[in-house]
């Protein structure tokens, strides 16, 4: 029975119990689902060629043995079999392969197999997300057949392209523009057509990356603004009478309140979902523009859809049947960043502590390929148990990618290797560098590159900050399609360069005994670097700001 039939056949409380009942599971109940499904996955994964390749002939029989025998894995462990799509080596026959960017510029794509069981679970959990996003309180939600969704995510073969298919398996929601048409359109064309259709039919749901939602929302405002060359009559013709009336009333109200037209003036959005990184930076603005705060969900290429916020927006709850969750505590995560050979300890979902930061480790259920996989995302456990939601389970907040990867607005994955390659290609005389993801005063993310130039090259080379920024930007865009999309789609140039005086990195190393971390060093380390730069200046009696 499809979800839309259930809407007529069952009461809201029954539907809520079916799709959102996991929220009120006890810790033990949640863990028993986790452990039971892990046993199923072990039975599939351990004897597979993929499993044996990682296990090196060992055969774990229990969950404890599984956790001790299977090392923590990264995509490199799977790449030889997955990239060549050797389906016979997998725990189960995949139905579809989805792909994403692996490492900007170096290794363009990684792929992940999805089995029938994974897709079924994914579909169920997507409906759970839809209900939770449309809920105002426990058991109270409004989802109707024929609602319209403005969908600002990438089509297949990206995992986001699966969502419309899975949703439409369960309920007849109209995507604006229709998925088939959208696949062959540019990002801008999709937005324009989506908005046009929205003005005719209304928009009840809106889903996308936080940054993209923000960009699209701004575009909608401009599309309705006075900048358009069309006459009022033409504009009114293109929209439904109801929307026309609403537009006129909204314009009148905006004039009265001396403000620009906002999407909330035109649309009664019921369900506002965002995914990806840096959503925190955009949520307040999105709420201002649409009148409701977006709810966040966790989904990824490797793990599928694993969690969703509720009406309270207090944190994301994980689904019990998508993956087996393990968490690397922050100190263990940092230690493994310092020493790549170190095997960090993990804790289980029921062992996390409120307020602590963890790196997520996943074993995908239902014949998935990934076991004890470091997906590269960092979360904070914001609390355990909620009086408002009437549960006793932990909830999480997405922090960012792990420190060795810089993800800007969910678009790029810049690693040490990709920066190195850009620098090499640019042939800029950079002696030393460190990169950190930072945020503007307006809370927008950017890549801050602290560089030190080669002393001897300064005489013969033109190396102003502008040149550095432009040249490196060109090569970043050349190497990384996603970086280019960031510029092309969102119009963002996220690179900021700060030049550090020659010798500063060496001075730092001399002072602290080890070089500063290349990727995402702690803010205090950056301060220490700047302090080295300043003290060096004083000692040498140089002019302030020579090189900055």
């Amino acid at each position: 029975m499809r979800f839309q039939e259930k809407l007529h056949e069952y009461s809201k409380s029954e539907i809520w119990e079916e799709y959102c009942g996991f929220l009120t599971l006890g810790m033990d109940e949640f863990m028993s689902i986790q452990k039971r499904l892990l046993e199923e996955q072990m039975a599939l994964w351990v004897p597979s060629q993929l499993g044996q390749r990682i296990l090196r002939g060992k055969t774990p029989k229990t969950i404890d043995e599984f956790r001790s025998m299977v090392p923590l894995t990264t995509y490199e462990d799977y790449a030889p079999l997955l990239l060549s799509k050797q389906t016979k080596t997998l725990p189960a026959e995949p139905v579809i392969w989805v792909q994403t960017t692996w490492e900007g510029g170096i290794r363009p794509t990684k792929v992940a197999p999805y089995t029938k069981g994974m897709l079924d679970t994914f579909q169920h959990n997507v409906i759970s997300c839809l209900i939770l996003a449309a809920s105002k309180e426990k058991g109270e939600f409004e989802v109707n057949v024929g609602d319209h969704m403005l969908y600002a995510l990438a089509p297949l073969p990206y995992v986001t392209g699966l969502l419309p298919l899975l949703l439409n398996n369960e309920i007849d929601i109209e995507f604006l523009p229709p998925v088939k048409e959208a696949a062959s359109m540019s990002f801008k064309e999709r937005n324009v057509l989506g908005f046009k259709l929205g003005m005719k039919k209304g928009i009840e749901y809106f889903f996308g990356l936080g940054s993209v939602l923000y960009y699209v929302s701004q575009s909608l405002v401009s599309l309705t603004g006075s900048g358009s060359k069309k006459s009022v009559g033409e504009k009114l013709k293109a929209i439904s009478p109801r929307m026309a009336l609403r537009l006129l009333a909204a314009k009148r109200r905006c004039r009265k309140e001396h403000r620009d037209l906002l999407p909330k003036d035109l649309f009664n959005l019921r369900c506002f979902m965002c995914a990806g990184t840096d959503n925190r930076s955009y949520k307040a603005d999105l709420e201002r523009m649409w009148g409701i705060r977006p709810i966040e969900l966790f989904a990824g290429t490797e793990p599928t859809c694993i969690g969703c916020e509720t009406w309270s927006r207090e944190g994301v709850y994980f689904f019990p049947d998508a993956c087996f969750y393990e968490f690397i505590p922050e100190n263990e995560m940092n230690r493994s960043l310092e020493d790549p050979n170190y095997e960090p300890r993990t804790v289980l979902w029921n062992e996390v502590q409120a307020g602590e930061i963890y790196e997520l480790v996943l074993t995908v259920f239902k014949g998935g390929a990934f076991a004890r996989y470091r997906v590269g995302d960092v979360f904070r456990c914001t609390g355990i148990g909620s009086a408002q939601e009437g549960n006793e389970i932990p909830r999480f907040e997405y922090i960012d990618r792990v420190a060795d990867t810089i993800d800007i607005a969910g678009f790029t994955r810049i690693t040490e290797n990709s920066i190195k390659q850009a620098i090499e290609l640019s042939r800029l005389p950079i002696e030393a560098w460190t990169a950190k993801k930072e945020f503007t005063d307006g809370d927008r993310p950017y890549l801050h590159l602290y560089v030190e130039l080669q002393r001897e090259s300064l005489i013969n080379s033109a190396v102003s900050i502008r040149i550095l920024q432009e040249q490196l930007g060109i090569y970043f865009r050349y190497l990384d399609q996603d970086y280019e999309d960031l510029k092309k789609i969102l119009g963002i140039d996220p690179l900021k360069i700060t030049m550090i005086k020659c010798g500063t990195f060496a001075a730092y190393e001399k002072k602290y005994g080890s070089p500063i971390r290349r990727m995402n060093p702690e803010s205090c380390d950056i301060n220490d670097l700047v302090q080295c730069h300043l003290s060096d200046r004083v000692e040498n009696g140089g002019a302030p700001g020579d090189w900055i």
């Binding site: 028993s32 689902i33 049947d321």
Partner: protein
């Protein structure tokens, strides 16, 4: 009374009856209290109206207000009832309407503001009640309509998108529609005089009642309980009393001159009797019409419960369960999962014997967990929508889908989940009715305890009967089965095949004990799978197996045995035929009634055949027969088994000789007598060879007896005699360690058995004693009699012969005694006595590989006959 009044009275009684039904049966759910309140309000409404029309005491106006009160409160109570019926959690302050309307009623009672009191006029003796309605009345109607509108809002809000709730509520809504329509029509002049309002009220009550029934809140039998019959009889009695008490009293007074008080008593007695009679009649009618069905069901279930209480076989219990369920419901097919020793639940029984049974449900399955908290049927559609369902494995989901599982019914005994019943869905996709599931649930609950007991019983029986390693039946149970089968098939055909693995000790040494155990399991599997269910495979010793083949003749038994022997040879074929130390087996077959007259003889003959194969080079199949000899040589050709054993026998007999020369000589003599008697008795050459070897070794156990006992000139004390008797078991214990000679064990073991069953060690009787044991017994005794010992002189030949003849049928086989004595008298058997006639070792008892007895063997050259006296 007018027709109008009659309708009113009948409807009043309907309400009263429904009210009392629930009041008497003490239903505690909130919705029932609201239903009873609704009935009470309707009674007040109609009752007030009836009493007013009847102008009963105290006054018309009093009853008018009572009736108006019922009418005004009806809407509010309906509202309360619907909220509880829908279990609507969102509706708050539901009593507000009741309070408002109750307040308005009180206000109206005092002021007659809304409805003025009726004006009573009389026309032709009949009272006519005239109301004058003003805008105030319509104001009251308006308020009541607002209450109804509120109720509609609640209904719409609750049922929007919830078809199930709407379907449940539909009868109630129809009832309300009828009620409103009845009142509307009653106000029209066209329907003047027809009590449509009253009739619609009754219909309304029936619909509400039906809605409760459809929601499975009570059983229909509740309506017709014994208490209700009494209540109904009382109500009818009251009506009759009101109507006929006075006329009957007057009739008695007038007709019979009965005094006033006396007439009243008489009428009262009659009325009481009528009430009792009515109660009985109602009870019988309801029982016949409604209750009997329910009771039949209860009786059938009770009978089923009694039946299964006395059953100790799960098959029987589950078959009875299936039959009961099929009889009582429309369920055609079901599947029973029972808990196994590992905690998992496996299919133990299916209604259709052709259904696959290879399914199981793990002990940690969410369905099992669910039943630990719920003693009720589990609907798979509902379960598939629960959070627990999310922990199901894909394989488990697939299995449930394949089985078409619609309902699971628990078999709980004291909270312990013994098993589960799986009921597939109906072909038309419709759900099973609640009553059907209740029946199955009750039946399952009734057999849960017996099933648990039967499982324990069967398991203990099985453990006692089965060999743990191989799962075949063990030696003890094998003999029970053999006896049973022999009794059943002795007049037709019964074959027995015995298998003895060759050189298994060496196999264990080569491959290890673990591999040896595996080999035993594989052999067991091979035996089980080679025969049908009528046959029985058993493990009767460490490396010995048996097949009982009822109804099989020798020919088929031979074919089966040969196939098995061939397959056993391939068990550890890991090198494509180049087998090192492959598993080999010696097999012997005997069949009744051709070659055995008792189960024990059948077994011993088969065993003899096995030992003959062992002795003849192993790895072959032999059919026992004293005349017919059949032997199939396999890939390993016979290669002089006797000669191979010669050195072993030499060593053993030399050991006896060193310790006790007399015993050595005695053994030689006995071997000679055995050979000769065996020939005379018609034994085959091979059996004679076995007999000779057994005779040479029959006293080998005396090596372990102290010399002072062996050579004691006086009679032995009881303790010494007991020690002496142990030489038989000592001999067996020595030879057991020589696998190549183990075929002589049965003969040696049985040579002290007596034909009358008083011998030792097994107290075998008659032909239960192997023929070679009986021969050895005669030879042993004859030589003992005719030889001199430390403690006695030799008997003369005649005395010895007399002793033999005296003990024929006692210690000895009478037929063999006859033969032996005849041979002695004819001089074909020479009496050796104490003549030290034994030739130099090797023993003269040994034969050539071809089985020919060497000429110089038994009768020592120049041996003088034993002294006759």
């Amino acid at each position: 009374m007018t027709g109008y009044n009659w309708v009113s009275v009948v409807s009043l009684f309907c309400y009263l009856y429904l009210l009392l039904t629930f009041a008497v049966n003490g239903k505690s759910e909130k919705v029932f209290s609201k239903f009873m309140l609704l009935m009470a309000v309707m009674i007040v409404w109609v009752g007030g109206s009836v009493a007013m029309r009847a102008e009963l005491w105290p006054s018309v106006n009093f009853w008018h207000h009572v009736s108006v009160g019922g009418m005004m409160l009806a809407a509010a109570v309906y509202f309360l009832f619907i909220v509880d019926f829908l279990e609507d959690r969102h509706s708050r302050n539901t009593w507000v309407w009741f309070v408002i309307l109750a307040a308005l009623f009180v206000f109206d009672c005092v002021t007659c503001f809304f409805i003025p009191e009726p004006v009573v006029t009389y026309a032709g003796g009949a009272a006519i009640f005239t109301y004058t309605y003003t805008w105030r009345f319509y104001l009251l109607v308006g308020i009541i309509l607002v209450c109804i509108a509120h109720m509609i809002v609640v209904v719409v809000r609750h049922c929007r998108g919830n078809r199930i709730a709407f379907r449940q509520l539909r009868p109630v809504l129809i009832g309300i529609a009828i009620l409103l329509a009845g009142h509307l029509l009653a106000s029209l002049p066209q329907f003047s005089g027809i009590p449509l309002d009253i009739i619609s009220g009754v219909f309304n009550a029936v619909f509400v009642f039906y809605a409760l029934y459809k929601k499975h809140l009570f059983k229909m039998s509740l309506l017709f309980s014994r208490a209700n019959c009494v209540v109904l009889a009382l109500i009818v009695g009251l009506v009759l009393g009101l109507r006929f008490f006075r006329p009957m009293q007057q009739w008695l007074e007038a007709s019979f001159g009965t005094p006033h008080v006396g007439a009243a008593i008489c009428v009262s007695i009659v009325l009481v009797l009528v009430v009792i009679g009515l109660a009985v009649i109602f009870s019988l009618i309801f029982r016949a019409v409604f209750v009997s069905r329910e009771n039949r069901r209860a009786e059938r279930l009770a009978r089923f419960g009694d039946d299964v209480m006395h059953m100790l076989s799960n098959d029987e219990i589950l078959q009875d369960l299936t039959n009961t369920v099929r009889d009582m419901t429309r369920i055609e097919s079901l599947m029973v999962f029972l808990r196994q020793s590992d905690g998992d639940y496996r299919v133990e029984h299916t209604s259709n014997p052709l259904d696959e049974k290879n399914f199981y449900i793990r002990a940690d399955h969410p369905i099992v967990t669910w039943f630990t908290h719920h003693d009720e049927c589990l609907n798979m559609r509902d379960f598939s929508r629960s959070t627990s369902y999310r922990s199901l494995w894909d394989g488990e989901k697939k299995m449930l889908a394949e089985l078409g599982a619609e309902e699971f019914v628990p078999m709980l005994s004291g909270g312990d989940l013994v098993g589960m019943l799986l009921i597939p869905g109906k072909k038309d996709g419709a759900p099973w009715s609640v009553s059907t599931l209740e029946t199955v649930h009750e039946a399952a609950a009734k057999c849960a305890g017996p099933v648990r007991d039967a499982v324990v019983y069967e398991r203990s029986i099985e453990e006692a009967r089965k060999d743990k390693l191989t799962g075949l039946i063990n030696r003890k149970y094998f003999f029970e089965v053999l006896d049973r089968e022999f009794e059943q098939y002795k007049d037709t055909m019964l074959s027995l095949c015995l298998f003895n693995l060759d050189d298994f000790k060496a196999y264990n040494q080569v491959y290890g004990v673990q591999e040896g155990d595996l080999a035993l399991q594989r052999v067991a599997g091979l035996l089980s799978s080679s025969v049908n269910d009528v046959c029985t495979a058993a493990r009767i010793g460490g490396k010995e197996f048996a097949l009982i083949l009822p109804g099989y003749d020798i020919h088929f038994a031979k074919l089966i045995t040969e196939n098995i022997v061939e397959e056993i040879g391939r068990i550890n074929d890991r090198t494509g035929g180049q087998i090192a130390n492959s598993l080999k087996v010696s097999a012997g077959i005997c069949a009744a009634p051709y070659m055995a007259t008792s189960a024990r003889e059948l077994f011993q003959n088969a065993e003899t055949a096995v030992y003959n194969v062992k002795r003849s080079g192993k790895n072959a199949v032999q059919i026992y027969s004293s005349n017919i000899y059949y032997q199939t040589e396999r890939q390993y050709k016979f290669s002089g088994g006797y000669r191979e054993n010669a050195s072993t026998i030499y060593a053993l007999t030399a050991a006896i000789d060193a310790k006790d020369h007399y015993t050595f000589r005695h053994s030689q003599n006995v071997a000679y007598y055995c050979e000769e008697l065996g020939k005379a008795a018609g034994l085959s050459g091979d059996l004679i060879e076995i007999l000779k070897e057994a005779a040479s070794l029959h006293d080998i156990g005396k090596i372990g007896i102290r010399e002072d006992i062996l050579n004691k000139p006086d009679a032995l004390t009881p303790d010494e005699y007991a020690i002496m008797k142990s030489h038989v078991e000592n001999a067996v214990n020595i030879i057991r360690h020589l696998p190549s000679l183990d075929y002589v064990i049965p003969t040696i073991l049985s040579h002290h058995e007596r034909y009358d069953g008083r011998g030792y060690p097994q107290r075998l009787k008659g032909e239960e004693i192997p023929i070679m044991g009986r021969i050895l017994c005669i030879a042993d005794s004859f030589d003992a009699m005719t030889s001199e010992r430390n403690y006695k002189k030799p008997l003369g030949l005649d005395a010895a012969i007399k002793n033999l003849q005296d003990e024929a049928g006692g210690q000895f086989d009478p037929k063999l005694v006859l033969i032996f004595v005849d041979e002695i008298r004819r001089g074909r058997i020479k009496v050796l006595g104490n003549a030290d006639a034994a030739p130099p070792l090797p023993s003269p008892a040994f034969s050539s590989p071809t089985g020919e007895v060497t000429k110089d063997a038994p009768a020592p050259a120049g041996a003088a006959p034993a002294p006759v006296t």
